[in-house]
């Protein structure tokens, strides 16, 4: 996919040679030379990875602002880059990490996160897909009689998307952004409490062996629970069907995908939208060509090549290139669910404090009963206080 795009870029820009480095763990490949001062011109690397290279550079103010890329016209077309990107994708903390309106990450491939289930099981049992959490708990009790648990999760890492969506559903997008920018007391507010209590309740409906398998070695066993009809819902992203493509499954299995049900009665459900980012290191040598390359990513030519490998960019009209399961995944927002984007605001590093560890990692302790929801909430607020102090 990338080689094709690079070839197309080189064709349209005579005299330009793009050196491509692709690796599953690209951090390990490029960071040694970066430490030595030799920086790549453009990097496609999402936030939220274990090595956190993108976050590290952000926290160190080592990225180039992309403001003028957005003003550039897409090479070979006469539209500006910012007009081609779907509205909403450029004003989130996942593109403007400092929350100051300046874009540093170009939004690339996106995929909605939600709850996966076996649609076949619902047909077989005659259940309705729940749309509120009340219906959810009722379904949990019904299913428990059949020996099926309501919920499982691959690892606690997936609770970032889950909590983001429930936070936004509980208090709206302003509230969500306040949470992400560590506003004082926000995690102890009424809306946040709703989310903590919700997860606390969900923990009681979680499949018994989930915690034991919620690690990098065994998370597929938790995902397998959905395929074996041992648990109903599992939070995940659109890559799940691909990841489990070769796994054995119950008869009549059919993937179903839905947004997180509304937290407030009558409110909208939410789905967190996860996307990968592309950025230019401030120390890059060929900055002009780097910007040109980033702008080119949004051309129809490039988008078609990406879409062939189901890498979907937030470009208006891109869903026309889709079919099958993918059409269902990307139509999640057509049913009234709100898209939630972004993530925690960048701060200077705070030694020993990791928000995602506190917010998501603790879920294992809630499910196993080692910590109470109140302790968890207090710990999150405490981490939030420390991180707020480090915001610039």
């Amino acid at each position: 996919m990338w080689t094709e795009v690079v070839a197309a870029f080189e064709n349209s820009h005579p005299g330009v040679k793009v050196e491509l480095t692709i690796d599953k763990k690209i951090e390990d490949v490029i960071s040694p030379s970066m430490k030595a001062g030799d920086y790549p011109d453009v990097v496609h690397l999402a936030t939220g990875r274990e090595a956190a290279l993108t976050e590290t550079l952000t926290k160190e103010n080592a990225l180039l602002p992309l403001t003028d890329v957005l003003e550039m016209t897409v090479p070979g077309e006469d539209v500006k880059v910012k007009d081609k990107i779907i509205p909403g994708f450029l004003d989130t903390l996942a593109t403007n990490p400092y929350g100051d309106g300046v874009t540093y990450y170009a939004p690339m491939f996106y995929s909605p996160c939600g709850l996966f289930y076996n649609a076949g099981l619902f047909k077989e049992k005659g259940w309705d897909v729940p749309t509120t959490w009340e219906e959810m708990w009722a379904l949990g009790d019904t299913a428990a009689a059949d020996g099926i648990a309501l919920f499982t999760y691959p690892t606690t890492g997936y609770f970032d998307a889950f909590t983001y969506a429930t936070l936004a559903s509980a208090g709206g997008s302003d509230f969500f952004n306040s949470c992400m920018t560590y506003e004082d007391g926000i995690w102890e507010s009424e809306n946040a409490t709703k989310v903590f209590d919700l997860v606390g309740q969900l923990a009681k409906y979680t499949e018994g062996t989930t915690v034991a398998n919620a690690n990098n070695d065994n998370f597929t066993k938790n995902q397998q629970l959905i395929l074996d009809n041992k648990a109903i819902f599992c939070p995940n992203g659109t890559w799940l069907p691909g990841e489990m493509a070769d796994a054995p499954r119950a008869d009549g299995f059919e993937w179903g995908f839905m947004a997180i049900p509304a937290v407030n009665e009558g409110g909208a459900g939410c789905s967190f939208c996860w996307f990968e980012q592309m950025w230019i290191p401030a120390a890059a040598q060929n900055q002009d060509m780097a910007k040109e390359f980033v702008a080119y990513m949004y051309s129809d030519e490039a988008a078609k090549i990406f879409a062939k490998s189901t890498a979907i960019q937030p470009i208006a009209g891109v869903s026309n290139y889709l079919e099958g399961d993918n059409k269902m995944f990307y139509s999640i927002y057509d049913n009234g669910a709100t898209a939630v984007m972004g993530g925690f605001a960048a701060t200077a590093p705070v030694e020993g404090v990791n928000m995602l560890d506190v917010l998501c990692g603790t879920v294992n302790s809630i499910v196993s009963g080692d910590k109470t929801v109140a302790d968890w909430q207090a710990a999150v607020e405490e981490a939030s206080d420390k991180l707020r102090a480090a915001m610039e």
Partner: protein, 299 residues
């Protein structure tokens, strides 16, 4: 004439050891020095924004409860793994080198195999053994306590999970130490055992009065190995088997250091942890070495 010869000799020795000394300086001394230096900075690891903060990283460290938990876990691992592995390795080594049993070579190989497996493979094996529903361990226990009861979550129960790691590490380490002990047991002269036999000493008494004292220097050396390898290997096992979870219950020194230095973008803080680990393992090895000092026996 003699002076000249002596000088040539020194030059020759100097040339011979120079490569090793240079490599040692470049790859050992300088990096170690850098770890100490970096622990005094607030730095993300990549950019040029290094800020000298003195001992601030250490100040944060002594209030960091997560660090203390990883400290506790590491100490627990070192103690449990060392005691059990050493005991079992000594027993197996004594049996395999002193007793005549069928299939001796077969057992030697079987015991050593875990040591040549990569930690990732061992983790996969133990993941399967610890599987809550279909795992070897729960299936065997299920025979005695009834299979309807809720399964034991070897990797999910925060009080159990560290011992699950201990078991995997012992299984991995026994073969290596067994071979080391066997090698030194082989050099104990047979005549000592013959005379002990004539004087009516039993096998167990022979082991404690002859074998153990005579391989004592070797046992002492392995104690230092235990300290170092427990710290190093626990990182690999944690990375592959539990990722430090559930909720940090199996975080050890190096996994916590990695998490802070990379995932949490505080490289300087990670290096401060590195300094503590360095001093701790150095100190512990010295302590162990001092405590086990005996007059070496000649034979």
């Amino acid at each position: 004439m003699n002076v000249k010869k002596g000088k040539a000799r020194s030059v020759f020795i100097g040339v011979c050891v120079a490569p090793a000394v240079i490599l040692f300086i470049i790859f050992m001394l300088i990096p170690t020095f850098n770890v100490f230096k970096m622990s005094l900075y607030k730095w993300g690891g990549y950019s040029n924004n290094k800020e000298f903060v003195g001992l601030n990283n250490f100040k944060i460290l002594i209030e960091d409860m997560n660090f203390f938990r990883s400290f506790q876990n590491t100490v627990l691992l070192i103690v449990c793994v060392t005691i059990v592995t050493m005991a079992l390795a000594l027993i197996f080594a004594a049996i395999l080198s002193r007793e005549e049993i069928k299939g001796q070579n077969f057992f030697r190989i079987v015991f050593y195999i875990p040591n040549i497996l990569s930690v990732v493979v061992i983790s996969a094996i133990f993941s399967a053994i610890y599987d809550p529903n279909n795992g070897l361990l729960n299936s065997i226990i299920g025979i005695f306590r009834g299979s309807e009861k809720t399964p034991i979550l070897w990797l999910g129960d925060q009080k159990l999970v560290i011992y699950s790691l201990v078991i995997a590490m012992i299984w991995q380490a026994i073969g290596y130490y067994m071979v080391m002990y066997m090698a030194s047991m082989a050099s104990v002269p047979e005549s000592l055992y013959e005379s002990a036999n004539l004087e009516g000493a039993g096998r167990i008494q022979q082991f404690f009065s002859i074998t153990l004292p005579l391989i004592w220097t070797n046992v002492r050396t392995t104690l230092t190995f235990f300290v170092i390898s427990s710290i190093n290997l626990s990182f690999l096992f944690v990375k592959a088997l539990t990722s430090g979870g559930p909720d940090g219950a199996t975080e050890v020194f190096l996994s916590y250091m990695y998490k802070q230095a990379y995932t949490n973008s505080s490289y300087g803080y990670g290096m401060a942890i590195g300094v503590v680990v360095f001093l701790f393992s150095f100190g512990l090895s010295a302590l162990v070495n001092f405590a086990t000092k005996r007059e070496p026996l000649e034979f």
